[in-house]
Each structure stands twice: as structure tokens, then as C-alpha cells.
């Protein structure tokens, strides 16, 4: 069961095409997830009782169900009620909805990690709640969220492989296509693994460096 390096090399452009789908889907989903996650997180903390409850239900519902389920609902179930998404937007929307919940929790724990004394100092200068958030709490939060956000990004790169279930030709799907065509189940999958690592390892290292900087 040797690894056929020549086969990997030959199919590399095809696999890299899939990797591009993986990467672009990750980036698009991440941008939306981060913006939505920030909004959901802030509403959850400061939006009052009703918005706090709604966002909490959303966060827990998403965290308690598989991401794949969400992808299948958006792609196969929503068209039945007239909401048609093409593959890429369907995948991006479901992954963004899913990761926004995780990222909301990242923002919440970062805000909660800022000592109470910071808010008290802001209030004692006469600042309003919004002013203390904008000038004191959030700027300190943004540094602390960068390392966990980078981790979420790396996790999202891996989770995009779920879109194979809606037949999107991402890196994993294309490596399986190569396997099916050549009956070599080893080489294309190992090749895919290496390409995933090339994408995730630098990001995880970057996250560790950021963590050191924050401390």
C-alpha cells in the first residue's frame, strides 16, 4: 500500500482547485460569522432580557446540533419553503450561522475576562455604558479575541469539508473523486491531508504567537 507520489503530483492542480473552494468558503463564512458573532455576543450581554434570551436560545440551539444538519437544512429543506440557495451561498450561510454562535461565545468570554475595575474606572469618569464599551472594554476585548478567533478559523477550514454532503467540490470531495477514478484510496486522501495541514498549521501557530503577545 505505497503512496503514489506521482499520482498526487499529477492531480495536484485538480486538488488545489478544491483547496481554493475550501479556502474561499472558509474566508467568506468567517467574515460573516465574525460580524454576526460580535453582534449576537453584544446583544446577548447588553441587549436586555428579551434580546438576551433570543440570542441565548440561538447560541445553545446551534451549539447543541451538528453543523452538518444545518447545512442539509439550508440546502435541502429551505428550498421546500421557497428559499433557494445555490451551493456556495448555502454552504457559506450555514457555516456562518453555525460559527457566529461559537464566535459570540468567544466575544462574551473575552468581555467577561476584562476586570470589573475597568468599567468602574470608566463610570467614575462619568462615561455612559456605551462610552465605556467603545473606549475601554471593546478595545481590550479585540486583542483577547484574536487568538481564539484564529483557532475558530482553523476549525472552520476543517469543518468546510462537510459541504461534500451537498456535493460541493472542495478539497476533500475532489480527493475522493480522484480515489474513485483511480481505485487508489490512499494517495489522494493523504495528499488532501497535507494540503489541509498547509492551511491550518500556520494559522494555529499564528494564534499561539498572538496569545504570547496578549500575555
Amino acid at each position: 500500500m505505497a503512496i503514489d507520489v506521482r499520482l498526487i503530483w499529477e492531480k495536484l492542480p485538480f486538488l488545489l482547485g478544491g483547496a481554493w473552494t475550501t479556502f474561499s468558503l472558509t474566508c467568506v463564512s468567517m467574515v460573516f460569522a465574525t460580524v454576526a458573532g460580535l453582534i449576537v455576543g453584544l446583544l446577548n450581554m447588553f441587549g436586555g432580557r428579551v434580546l438576551g434570551t433570543i440570542t441565548r436560545v440561538y447560541i445553545e440551539a446551534v451549539r447543541g446540533t451538528p453543523a452538518l444538519l444545518l447545512i442539509l437544512i439550508v440546502y435541502y429543506a429551505l428550498p421546500r419553503i421557497g428559499l433557494n440557495f445555490p451551493q456556495f451561498p448555502a454552504a457559506a450561510v450555514s457555516l456562518a450561522v453555525c460559527y457566529a454562535a461559537y464566535i459570540a461565545e468567544v466575544f462574551r468570554s473575552a468581555v467577561e475576562s476584562i476586570p470589573m475595575g475597568q468599567t468602574e474606572a470608566a463610570y467614575s469618569l462619568g462615561m455612559s455604558r456605551m462610552q465605556s464599551l467603545r473606549y475601554i472594554i471593546l478595545p481590550q476585548t479585540f486583542r483577547r479575541v484574536l487568538p481564539p478567533l484564529a483557532n475558530e478559523f482553523a476549525a472552520l477550514i476543517k469543518d468546510t469539508s462537510l459541504v461534500a454532503f451537498i456535493s460541493m467540490e472542495d478539497l476533500l470531495f475532489r480527493s475522493k473523486m480522484v480515489s474513485a477514478a483511480t481505485y487508489d484510496y490512499f494517495s489522494p486522501l493523504v495528499g488532501a491531508a497535507l494540503i489541509y495541514l498547509v492551511m491550518t498549521l500556520p494559522i494555529m501557530q499564528w494564534s499561539r504567537n498572538l496569545e504570547k503577545k496578549v500575555d
Binding site: P115, G117, Q118, E120, A121, Y123, S124, L125, G126, M127, S128, Q131, Y135, I136, P139, Q140, R143
Partner: protein, 253 residues
């Protein structure tokens, strides 16, 4: 003693029957006192006596459970009076400094006037530089708190409070978290402020500071004022047993 006559120009603060509870735990059990313009009051007492909570109630960082606070002729009631305006007029210095770690010393001091008083940045920063010079930190203006000693951070915090031109300064154990050899840096600044006529309430166990600066000492225990008088009266002839016990421990330390 012409100085003393000048100092007494009417009351700035009146606290009547103040109570504060956390859940079922009553921490302040009915405290009343007044404060004249330019008066320097030192609050002492064992830990858990409620002195920090009392000071934190005065600018509504801890909303009192009941009682009256009249500040500068205005009755302070949540809602009835603008708490934010009150806080603009009352400076506060914390035990843990609470300087803003993401900002330089200069930005720490200038931020309040810029954000709250809507002062132009250039004006606010110019005054911030003067204030930093006043607390002996002109050379640290562009440093962040992480690069500073506790004594320096606390002096930044004092300058930050002064930038709002407060009518009253509250100090909540300002030297308790500072290395012993740096405490004098902070006390010197506070003495200077007192000499300039700042009205202040200081929670501290620094006997030397209290003797030098305080017009009046209030001794608290278990949420009540036990004894009050001039530093000479309270320190040298304490009337209450609890005061005597406490003082003997502080003297030993």
C-alpha cells in the same frame, strides 16, 4: 489659623442614614456624616468594616440601598439626578489603580475630558501633559501601564481623575497594592493635592498621612461609624475599645 477659616466655606457633601446591602448581607448599617469644602477626611477601620463600600456608594459605583446623599447642594437619587454628572464631579482613585492598559499614560488622562466633556483632543492632551508633570510622570507620558510600576500607575490614575476637575476626590485604599518603597510617591502627590485645597475622602491605614493631612478621622466597624474626631483625638485618645484595639494592631504593623 486663617487657613482653617478659608477652608470652611460650607458643605459639599451630606450623607444621611446610608444603608447598603448585598443580598441579605447588610454592609453599611446607617451612616451619616457631612463634609465641608476643602475638608480632608480619612476613613479607617478593619477590613470588612464597610469603608470601601461607603466610598463606592458616594459616586454610585455601588448604588446605596437607602439613605440620602446631598452633593454640592443637589440631592442624589437614582433617576432623579444625573448619576453621570455626579461622577464627573467626583474623582475616584482605586486600590487596584484600574488604569486603562491599552492606552498610554497621556491617553489615560486625556480620555475622560475628550469623551465626557467633549474637549478638543489637543487641549485635553496639553492639560494631560501638565497633570502628568504634576504627579512627576512627564517623562512617562507615552508609556503604557504595563511598563510602569504600581506607584507610577496609581499616579496616572490620580492624574486621570484630576483631569475632570472634580470637586471631591475619593481615594479607596490608594496605597494598599503598592510596593512599600514606592508608597511615598503616591502619598507625596496626595499631600500636594491636599495642600492645594482639594476636598478629599481617603480610605487608608497610613497613619502618617492621616496625621499630616486629615482634618478629621472617621473610624468605622461593622458598617457603622464608631468614632470621629481630629487625628490627634482619635489616634492619641481613642474613646472606643474597638478603635483602641484596631490602632494597637496598626501601630504594631
Amino acid at each position: 489659623m486663617a487657613d482653617d477659616e478659608l477652608r470652611s466655606t460650607g458643605k459639599i457633601l451630606d450623607v444621611v442614614d446610608l444603608h447598603k446591602s448585598f443580598g441579605t448581607l447588610e454592609v453599611i448599617k446607617g451612616v451619616s456624616f457631612g463634609l465641608d469644602h476643602k475638608e480632608r477626611l480619612v476613613l479607617m477601620g478593619p477590613s470588612g468594616s464597610g469603608k470601601s463600600t461607603l466610598v463606592r456608594c458616594l459616586n454610585w459605583i455601588e448604588p446605596p440601598t437607602s439613605g440620602r446623599i446631598v452633593f454640592d447642594g443637589q440631592e442624589v437619587q437614582a433617576g432623579a439626578c444625573d448619576i453621570r454628572k455626579l461622577r464627573e464631579d467626583i474623582g475616584m482613585v482605586f486600590q487596584q489603580f484600574n488604569v486603562f492598559p491599552h492606552l498610554t499614560a497621556l491617553q489615560n488622562v486625556a480620555l475622560g475630558p475628550i469623551v465626557v466633556k467633549k474637549l478638543p483632543r489637543a487641549d485635553a492632551e496639553a492639560e494631560a501633559r501638565e497633570l502628568l508633570a504634576k504627579v512627576g510622570l512627564a517623562h512617562r507620558a507615552d508609556h503604557k501601564p504595563g511598563q510602569m510600576s504600581g506607584g507610577e500607575q496609581q499616579r496616572v490614575a490620580i492624574a486621570r481623575a484630576l483631569a475632570m476637575h472634580p470637586k471631591l476626590m475619593l481615594f479607596d485604599e490608594p496605597t494598599s497594592s503598592i510596593d512599600v518603597e514606592l508608597i511615598h510617591e503616591v502619598l507625596d502627590v496626595m499631600v500636594k493635592l491636599a495642600d492645594e485645597g482639594m476636598t478629599m475622602i481617603v480610605v487608608t491605614h497610613e497613619m502618617g498621612f492621616a496625621k499630616e493631612v486629615a482634618d478629621r478621622v472617621i473610624f468605622m466597624d461593622q458598617g457603622l461609624i464608631i468614632e470621629t474626631g481630629t487625628p490627634a483625638e482619635v489616634f492619641e485618645h481613642p474613646q472606643q475599645e474597638r478603635t483602641q484595639n484596631f490602632l494597637s494592631k496598626v501601630h504594631l504593623a
